[in-house]
Amino acid sequence: MKVAVITFPGSNCDADIYRVLRDQYHAEVDRIWHRDQLEKKYELVILPGGFSYGDYLRSGAMAGFSPVMTSVKEHVNKGGKLFGICNGFQILTEAEFLPGALTRNKTLKYICKTVTLKKGSAGNPVTSSLDPQKELRIPIAHADGCYFATSDVLKQLDDEGRILFRYHGENPNGSLDAIAGITSKDFKITGMMPHPERAMNSVIGEEDGKVVLDLILGA
């Protein structure tokens, strides 16, 4: 699989997802600087976690205007898949690839801990092979992870099977409907706040990230 990982000024999880894809999935991965363009065809483009442009103004707001986003839009228009993790999810909502917005955590705290996720809407092809009872332990690390959308949009997301994951048990940031991740209408674009790339090895604690990345890469 050919994958591009974009690096914005302030990205800090780009190397993590790059290494996971290269070493654990044996994917052909290129790292792309935000001032460049995607110069070949990729199946998947990843917007990694971090603090693009220092998260000044709003988290993820400025990255949508980076030069690379022109070719990312072309990639999506040609049917390519796009996946945003944490700050990448914030960028996807700010750039209107996905609906809603990520606002300040209800506790006002930066939260760095492992949380439990469960499959979101029924009928989402990305998570179709996942048992609805399966609990996934995945880390979060964010200050602006409270998912907000109007009630119409929330209903539409659920009706269309677009809620990827929900927080289970504890809702750490106050997200509406306990939403931890969503997909686009055609299920090609996915965004989630938790970091699957940080849960890839039992030696460092958790390995449920493999389940999540298998779903994203396999969809």
């Binding site: 400025m62 205007f65 917005a101 606002t103 006002l108 907000f148």
Partner: protein, 82 residues
Amino acid sequence: MYIAKIQVVLKESVLDPQGSTVKKVLSEVGEKSVQDVRVGKYIELKIDAPNEETAKKDVERLCDKILVNHVIETYTANIQKI
């Protein structure tokens, strides 16, 4: 040259934990008269425009394009010649 003073606030329907926290602290220090607090941000732009109408359009465009996220925020702008 014009100066635009822009105030961005979260919409009423969006949880404002900063406002809630400030309100709680005000109450704890005995300021019982405060009924609600909303915390927003202030952005000041100096704009080179031939007239106020153009400056106003520039501000609207900038707010729509990047300065304000209309999913969660609203804004008011005051524009003055300098």
